[in-house]
């Protein structure tokens, strides 16, 4: 009798322990992130963006922000807060962009900024998703009859100060034994005006911004973008170090947009697919199975909301860089020979 009682007691204790552990395991998607908490408390994401460059981030005639970086911001807001419009955009110049992030004024910096070793270490910043693969490109007038960057020996090029660009030009010149003179401008408007007037032989910036600059010229057809890229400029989001879960979420929002394109889900067909999905990968993506969202600290419909709000990566690229006539090139999906790849989810 006593052994039976002992057995029952043991079972009860074990059952209790299993139940307790099981319960805590079941609800243990407790994600600790001060930034995410602050954003949820504020009810608004504060996104640092460019002050105005076609393609990446610009305000249209009615004052609404548009662009690839803006789409990324809206996607994060849709994932975390459920509403893509709950974003405050702070335009930053290249001079102040990193200190604004470091000081905590913005939550994330998505401002066509190259991800480099120095910034990862000296500035104490972490990398979010890489949303634009490009390099430093040159734009010259067609009338100069120049076909390659090596032919620019002795030329003067307009550059914006405060970026990796002026260093790259010096390094390229040294490596190839040519001399390219630079004119350093504080703001792009004066740089464009000088290039337009012929003060310098061309303009240089990362590939996306050069395409944007070309669209801002009086007659874009007069300008040729040279084929060589003299450096790697892989542009992406920056966050502060020390808040890993926030950085992880930011990174996976970008991967979600890529995954949507791989799976063929667009803004238009996401609702239909949600109703009729059978592919387990699609179902996991849309939150019908698995708990990917909860693992990240958001709810499971996060990817569905992202695609509903902004569409997939390809849609956004075509919408903002299509008019600038910049082919996807490196920004194509890996399935088509490009560098954009979403990491597997499971």
């Amino acid at each position: 009798m006593r052994s039976l009682l002992k057995l029952v007691a043991c079972c009860a204790v074990v059952a209790g322990m299993v139940g307790f552990v099981g319960e805590s395991v079941a609800q243990n998607y407790d994600v600790k992130s001060p930034t995410m908490d602050a954003i949820k408390k504020r009810g608004e994401l504060i996104c640092g963006v460019d002050t105005g460059i076609p393609g990446f981030a610009y305000q249209d005639a009615s004052g609404k922000w548009q662009g690839l970086d803006i789409a990324y911001c809206r996607a994060i807001a849709a994932a975390l807060l459920g509403n893509p419009d709950k974003v405050k955009y702070i335009g930053t110049t290249s001079k102040v962009r990193f200190s604004v992030l470091q000081s905590g004024e913005i939550d994330v910096l998505i401002r066509d900024s190259t991800q480099t070793l120095t910034r990862n270490t000296e500035l104490g910043l972490a990398f979010g998703g890489l949303n634009f693969f490009t390099g430093q490109a040159f734009m010259v007038k067609r009338s100069l009859n120049v076909a390659h960057v090596k032919e620019l020996n002795g030329a003067t090029i307009c550059v914006l100060t405060g970026t990796t660009l002026e260093l790259n030009i010096a390094d390229y010149g040294r490596a190839n034994n040519i001399k390219i003179n630079t004119l350093l401008f504080e703001r792009p408007e004066e740089a464009f005006a000088a290039a337009e007037a012929g003060r310098c032989d061309g303009y240089t910036d990362d590939g996306g911004s050069v395409a944007a600059a070309r669209s801002a010229m009086k007659s874009p057809k007069d300008w040729l973008i040279l084929p060589e890229l003299i450096s790697r400029e892989f542009l992406g989001a920056y966050t502060r170090q020390g808040d890993d879960r926030w950085t992880i979420l930011v990174r996976w929002v970008h991967h979600a947009m890529l995954e949507a394109e791989v799976l063929g889900i667009t803004q238009a067909n996401v609702d239909d697919i949600k109703k009729s999905a059978t592919n387990p990968e699609v179902r996991g993506f849309l939150g019908l199975e698995e708990n990917f969202g909860k693992k990240l600290g958001v709810d499971n419909e996060w990817a569905y909301r992202i695609v509903k709000a902004v569409g997939n990566y390809g849609e956004n690229y075509d919408k903002y860089f299509g008019p600038l006539e910049l082919p996807r090139g490196w920004n194509e999906l890996y399935t088509k020979g490009g560098l954009q790849y979403p990491l597997p989810w499971r």
Binding site: K95, S99, G124, I169, R187, E190
Partner: protein, 371 residues
Amino acid sequence: MIRQPSRRAKIGQWLLLLAIVAGGWLIVENVSENLARKNLHFGFGFLEQQSHFDIPFHLISWTVFNTYGRALLVSLLNTVLVSALAIVTASLLGLLVGVMRLSVNWLVRNIALCYIEFVRNTPQLVQIIFWYVGVLQALPSPRQSIVFPGGILLNIRGLYIPDAVMNPGLEWLSWLALALVVATPFVWRLRVRGERIGSKALLLPLLAVACFAAGVDQVVYPELKGFNLAGGTQVPPELVALWMGIAIYASAFIAEIVRGSIEAIPKGQHEAALSIGLHSWQRLALVILPQALRIMVPQMTSQYLNIIKSSSLGAAIAYPEVFAIFTGTVLNQANKEIETILIVVAIFVTLNLLTSMMMNWYNRRVALVER
């Protein structure tokens, strides 16, 4: 002193000092905390790092291997150059417009008034950008340069002046020539046996030209090679635009100062000068202006300081002065915000003090010595 400050006030001032020192200490604490958090260190060692960027306009030699310290020196020289040019131009122009403001001729008077009012009431940054955009758009491309006699070329890349290459052993002749030219005004005023040397001192510049010409080996003319003109010294349009922008803006204020000073001279001086038969330009140069100078100098000092400070606007039009290079490129590459800004502030304070000291010395020389 009308009355002694109360004891309460005397104690209070020391408490105020204490409060300020405490506040400063708090700020320093916060700064070191924030720097430590970001793994940054305070130090001026970055001045010895290589810069790896190009400065388009430099008065002394510059390569991409030079250090940040040398970048500071190069950009500082650029600042001093544009400030000096602007000070001279603004003074002369301001003097001219100020005198025009007091002319008998109604047309001349009012043209000067329109000029002064328009320039004083529009923002300086917009004026400088306008000069740059206006200057740029007016000049032709290098392939169609305007040619001046003597081989001087003018185009959108700048003003190209032929370079005189000195014979290798005779470079000291060019320094001698420069010294002779600089010494001319001093020699002019020198008194030998009671008499001023005066216009005989003009021999010195002639001697200087002769020295220079003797040492010249060959003259390099600017010509079109590839994209740009090669050879010759280049005066970039950024320099010209900034110089004109600053000088014109300051000249409007200086014109008002000149006018006020001249109007403050008692009427009796005009009448006395008239009565001994001087006509208008002689009156102006010999009687009125020397006296007006006395009144003008303190006010001119603040205008000159403003000119030095406005050279910082060169950052907007790609002129490589201290602001553009140091708080632009170097700040971004080296990530040493506090040190960079401290250096720049120290530079401007020093320039400020030097100019004030020079002007004060000049003021004391021309001031009326009263009992």
